[in-house]
């Protein structure tokens, strides 16, 4: 029998795993599968989270299977009894869908070392939030000389034909609509004011992108000069030399929890727990906060520094003051009808 390197490695891993978990049956002997997001998330997790997890758990086998939230839900749904994924990562909207469809195991909070150190918004018993995504104003400093300070600046006549937004398919687009509605007296339960504001924004709109990624690239083409944007997406563009800056508007930057969950019926529950613990640990969160990742931490033990301290918040107290959290349970209830209204009404 020919033993190549890969087979040798697999055998070694399997033997190692069987040694570590004597009760492991043949059917369960697959490595931990972590469905992270594609792109910069995958890079960050491959470079930081996975090595930290493996170091703490005797080089346990782990596979990253990056895919969108909705695909994670679909895959787990298709094989509930024997899910192909052990750990899911979700935006707030899909997280509630996954919990609602009973695909998620409650997080063993009493066993967890770090859960109690998270800021209260991140302490979700169905799956804690190891990171935040932050949405604020993005602009091109070469064409926009006075930095914007408020969401309301998007309506200024000087930005005629210069504003970009995304449709409501994305968390960013939906969250932003809610924030605009709030600014004008609406709420998660009532975004009518937000739609009125969108109507008034039409002369300024240069583009309604299909997703946040496509929106960000429009800065490169000079197609838009200002838009709501994701802090991390903007940092990536900035690092590549695109003239973009991020500011938190005075109404508060929108913070989305990115939550991490143990999949129900996972054959690797213990390892899944260990991976999530690693994601919550101050060590991993500190590394991920530093360049080039600049991911906003949720563990209060992490001292904010660098670009995040400069642009977003110096510490947890300021973070809570400057961030706006939204009630996605309420948002999910009506999201379908908002998308329908957006489909019909927003034509430029």
């Amino acid at each position: 029998m020919l033993l190549d390197r890969r087979r040798l490695l697999t055998s070694a891993l399997t033997l190692g795993a069987m040694h570590a978990f004597p009760g492991l049956s043949l059917a369960q002997a697959r490595p931990l599968v972590f469905a992270t997001f594609t792109g910069s998330w995958e890079e960050a997790h491959k470079a930081v989270l996975v090595p930290a997890f493996r170091k703490a758990n005797g080089d346990a086998g782990i596979v990253l299977d990056p895919m969108l939230s909705v695909d994670q839900i679909a895959k787990v749904n298709a094989a509930k009894a024997n899910p192909p994924i052990d750990v899911m990562l979700h935006d707030p909207g899909p997280a509630l869908v996954a919990i609602g469809q009973d695909l998620v195991e409650p997080y063993p909070t009493d066993k967890s070392t770090y859960f109690k150190d998270l800021i209260p918004e991140a302490q979700d018993a169905m799956g804690p939030a190891p990171f935040f995504q932050v949405v604020g104003l993005t602009y091109n400093p070469e064409t926009v000389k006075t930095p914007p300070t408020s969401w309301a600046d998007l309506w200024k006549p000087e930005f005629k034909g210069k504003v970009g937004i995304t449709n409501l398919n994305s968390t960013l687009g939906t969250g932003w609509l809610v924030e605009i509605a709030r600014m004008r007296g609406g709420s998660e339960a009532n975004v009518d004011e937000g739609f009125k504001a969108l109507e008034e924004l039409k002369p300024n709109l240069a583009a309604v992108a299909a997703n946040p990624g496509a929106l960000a690239t429009l800065f490169q083409q000079g197609q838009i000069d200002i838009s709501p944007g994701n802090f991390n997406a903007i940092q990536i563009l900035k690092a590549r030399g695109v003239p973009v800056e991020f500011v938190a508007p005075k109404e508060g930057a929108i913070a989305f929890k990115t939550t991490i969950h143990i999949v129900k019926n996972s054959p690797n529950k213990e390892l899944a727990f260990k991976l999530i613990e690693a994601a919550l640990s101050p060590e991993v969160q500190t590394t991920l906060m530093n360049p080039p990742y600049l991911i906003v931490p949720t563990n209060t033990k992490v001292a904010m520094s660098g670009e995040i301290a400069k642009v977003l918040a110096k510490d947890t107290a300021e973070l809570k003051k400057k961030f706006v959290f939204q009630d996605w349970k309420k948002i999910n209830e009506q999201r379908a009808s908002w998308i329908e209204k957006f489909n019909r009404d927003i034509k430029i």
């Binding site: 969108l68 909705v70 398919n169 687009g173 299909a210 690239t217 429009l218 083409q221 000079g222 999201r335």
Partner: protein
């Protein structure tokens, strides 16, 4: 039929057995999921527990949904026509050129197929953008003051889709035109027909099978081109693939998404059937010469 299958060495008796692997793969990976899709679409609620035709009624009685279907089918027609008008001369030129130029033309036609659709589509964003090639040329010539808005418009989308799908039109055309006996156009000319008359009466009917094949391929590819549609068309131009994606992915409304797919499938099948009927008639026309 019976005597045919029992006859030794008859090639037709092998055909079924040899087609079995592919047939089986089709049954498992295509027919079965399709049946599942139909099953899913016949439910009135998102959890797929209540049977009913509600999703179809919802789509077919909703002017907005019908408008999305209509604009998608129209987009396909516009792209197909653009490809045909631009592609036919290329195929024509190919048949009239020496072998070196022919290789060059084939290279140019095939080149887009060698890069990913995403890359080709992004190139169009660069070309059509505010600071893109077209706008900067027009501006430096002093023809326009402010940049024209070209991406996220129907016109820009048609241009991009036409380029992306062009090989699907040109390749069948080259084959079809290549099969035409060049003596026929000489004969037509010697009988006193002008070049235009020769083209309309002789070349066009004879190249009809290629036109039909090219149009069918281009049409099907253009209306389902999710990536190009969303990147060049933008988020406010809604076509069937994006509508479907929105319902399935963002809203997790699978029964409605399934119904949209089935309706879309039948709409496309109807168009393809129309093309192939035209194709049969064209072939009849060709035989009758």
């Amino acid at each position: 039929m019976k005597s045919a299958t029992t006859a030794p060495g008859d090639v037709t008796s092998f055909s079924l057995g040899l087609a079995l692997p592919l047939g089986l793969a089709f049954a498992i990976f295509f027919v079965l999921p399709l049946a599942q899709l139909v099953y899913l679409s016949l439910h009135n609620d998102t959890a797929a527990t209540v049977w009913g035709l509600g999703q179809y009624v919802k789509f077919l009685t909703d002017p907005f949904s019908l408008a999305v279907l209509g604009s998608t089918l129209l987009l396909g027609a516009e792209v197909t026509l653009t490809c045909l008008v631009l592609g036919y001369p290329i195929a024509w030129l190919y048949q009239r050129s020496g072998s070196r130029v022919q290789t060059l033309i084939i290279m140019i036609v095939l080149l887009p197929l060698l890069t990913s659709v995403v890359v080709r589509t992004f190139a169009w964003i660069v070309i059509l953008g505010r600071q893109g090639i077209i706008n900067s040329v027009l501006q430096s010539l002093g023809l326009i003051g402010t940049p024209l808005r070209m991406i996220y418009t129907q016109g820009g989308l048609i241009a991009a889709l036409a380029q992306v799908q062009m090989p699907l039109m040109v390749l069948p055309l080259i084959t079809a035109i290549g099969r035409i006996d060049p003596n026929l156009s000489d004969a037509s000319a010697s009988l006193g027909a002008g070049s235009w008359r020769t083209f309309v009466k002789v070349m066009l009917p004879l190249s009809m099978p290629g036109i039909i094949a090219g149009c069918t391929l281009t049409y099907a590819a253009a209306i389902t081109a999710f990536i190009t549609q969303s990147l060049v068309g933008g988020g406010q131009m809604l076509f069937m693939p994006m509508y479907l994606y929105q319902q399935a992915s963002t809203l997790q409304n699978w029964p409605f998404a399934a119904a949209i797919s089935i309706i879309f499938l039948f709409a496309v099948l109807a168009i393809v059937a129309l093309f192939s009927t035209l194709g049969r008639r064209a072939r009849g026309y060709g035989d009758a010469r």
